[in-house]
């Protein structure tokens, strides 16, 4: 895990930019659908995080994303050490 990159903070920044609204109270336990983020917006957030951090999350890793923490874990696993 790369300590210089805070995946949760990156998610919040990217989600706010993509969905044009703030996500102040998001934690790793937050359920993505309960944040009002639909599947297309989620893919937009994933794409933005990928290009911003310079990594690729394989499609099979995107199947079971329920919480924000699920996504953060996938991102952290792909970050260079």
């Amino acid at each position: 895990m790369n300590p210089r990159i805070d995946a949760l903070q990156t998610f919040k920044t990217v989600a706010a930019r993509v969905d044009k609204r703030e996500f102040p109270n998001v934690t790793r336990q937050s359920v993505i659908t309960e944040l009002g983020i639909d599947s297309l917006s989620m893919m937009q957030i994933v794409g933005e995080m990928e290009t911003e951090l310079g990594l690729i999350i394989p499609d099979e890793d995107l199947v079971e994303l329920v919480t924000v923490g699920d996504l953060c874990s996938k991102v952290e696993a792909k970050l260079p050490a």
Partner: protein, 425 residues
């Protein structure tokens, strides 16, 4: 003529000369141009630097910031025009602002038999430009998942049906500059066949972008300011005409089976009595010089009304692109149909003030034509400093008050697609 008479019960417009029907119609009567210099992007390397632009449209009235990004401008203008038309028709109660709320109902209206043909010829050009630029700069992973639903030409019809809960027929017709006219005609056919009771139909375009102005300009199709004045550039049938002016906007008509409109007490503004389609079958962009294709569409529209309707036409709203070839071909088409009587029929070109709204043109001009029937006023054609002597039309230079019971709207598009509508009161 079949059993179901097609009534017009609602009108809606967003245009370079007004963002609702009342202000649009007032501007047209006053002969006010909506053409100005382009300021949205640099024009120094382009062949034309003017356009008819919609001013003061507020997406925030309709969309969240996120939705404003998803839906292209053409889609946004489509919704606004459709909303005005639906509201006038007494169907505004169907509108649902919150996507998660249940669809409201309006008494006497079966939502499963209300449809939408709000079309565009080009779709959301700016989304194409933006996403291609993103992909080029940051790679394909950066392309928005909303790219396709945003850019698809049927986004307008999709948005209108979802906001109003319409479950009748809906799709997009793309026939370049005949798009709006073809959509209105096809909507009437859906009602005539019983596939729908009500259709909100028309067209929209908001394609004035660097690359489209370059494309039309490099085809030498665009006009430039005349003596430094952009409002004088769109000059249909004038001797100094030299191309069209790109415009943006949307027009919508609510068409409804007459029996349905009467049963729910809707006010009938006019009737769509006839419609005709044809093709030039000849060339990608150049119209047939003798207007034979366009004449066919007009003849078919008149025939559909029943009997010989030529003597009843008391106003013609022409296509009037303001190109050298287009205006001449249209004159020949009208001459073929109406013969010597053509010189008696008042003609005025909405495009002389709005510029060319492309996929929206036929719809916005149909709104003007219905307004003529309602108010018995013919709007002027402007920039007729010297009428082309080869074009013997009775062009109206100042608003004309007089009896108009039956009017013709004509459209022709790149690709040789022709359409004609006959409205009556």
């Amino acid at each position: 003529m079949s059993g179901r008479r097609i009534a017009v019960t609602g009108l809606g417009v967003v245009s370079p000369v007004g963002n609702d029907v009342a202000s649009f119609w007032q501007s047209l009567q006053a002969g006010r141009s909506g053409v100005d210099f382009i300021t949205a992007f640099p024009t120094d390397k382009l062949r034309s630097d003017i356009a008819g632009t919609v001013k003061g449209f507020d997406p925030g009235r309709w969309f969240s910031p996120k939705e404003t990004e998803i839906y292209g401008r053409v889609t946004q203008l489509s919704l606004a025009a459709a909303f005005e038309a639906m509201t006038q028709a007494g169907l505004g109660g169907l509108y649902r602002a919150d996507d998660d709320a249940p669809h409201p109902e309006v008494p006497g209206v079966d939502r499963t038999l209300v449809g939408c043909l709000m079309s565009t010829g080009q779709g959301s050009v700016e989304i194409f430009e933006e996403q291609i630029a993103r992909s080029t700069a940051r790679g394909p992973r950066a392309v928005s998942p909303y790219f396709i639903p945003g850019v698809m030409p049927n986004a307008g019809a999709a948005l209108v049906t979802s906001r109003f809960g319409l479950m009748g027929p809906s799709f997009n017709i793309a026939s370049a500059c005949a798009t709006g006219t073809h959509s209105i005609a096809t909507a009437a056919m859906m009602i005539e066949s019983g596939d729908a009771d009500v259709m909100v139909a028309g067209g929209a375009e908001a394609a004035t972008r660097l690359n489209t102005v370059a494309g039309f300009g490099n085809a030498r199709a665009l006009a430039r300011a005349v003596d430094g004045d952009p409002t004088r550039a769109s000059r249909p049938f004038d001797k100094r005409r030299h191309g069209f002016v790109m415009g943006e906007g949307a027009g919508a008509l609510v068409l409804e089976a007459e029996d349905h409109a009467r049963a729910r007490g809707a006010k009938i503004l006019a009737y769509l009595a006839g419609w005709g389609f044809s093709s030039d079958g000849d060339h990608l962009t150049r119209p047939l010089a003798d207007g034979a294709g366009l004449a066919l569409a007009i003849q078919r529209a008149l025939r559909r009304v029943g009997g010989d309707q030529r003597d009843r036409i008391a106003y013609i709203n022409p296509h009037a692109t303001s190109t050298l070839q287009g205006d001449l071909a249209e004159y020949h088409a009208l001459r073929t149909v109406f013969g010597e009587r053509l010189g008696d029929i008042p003609v005025s070109a909405t495009k002389s003030m709005t510029g060319h709204l492309l996929g929206g043109a036929g719809a916005v001009e149909s709104v003007a034509t219905v307004c003529t029937l309602v108010d018995q006023i013919i709007h002027p054609s402007i920039n007729l400093d010297e009428q082309d002597p080869a074009i013997e039309l009775r062009l109206i230079r100042d608003a004309l008050y007089g009896q108009v019971d039956c009017a013709l709207k004509v459209s022709a598009g790149f690709g040789g697609h022709n359409g004609a509508l006959v409205f009556e009161r």
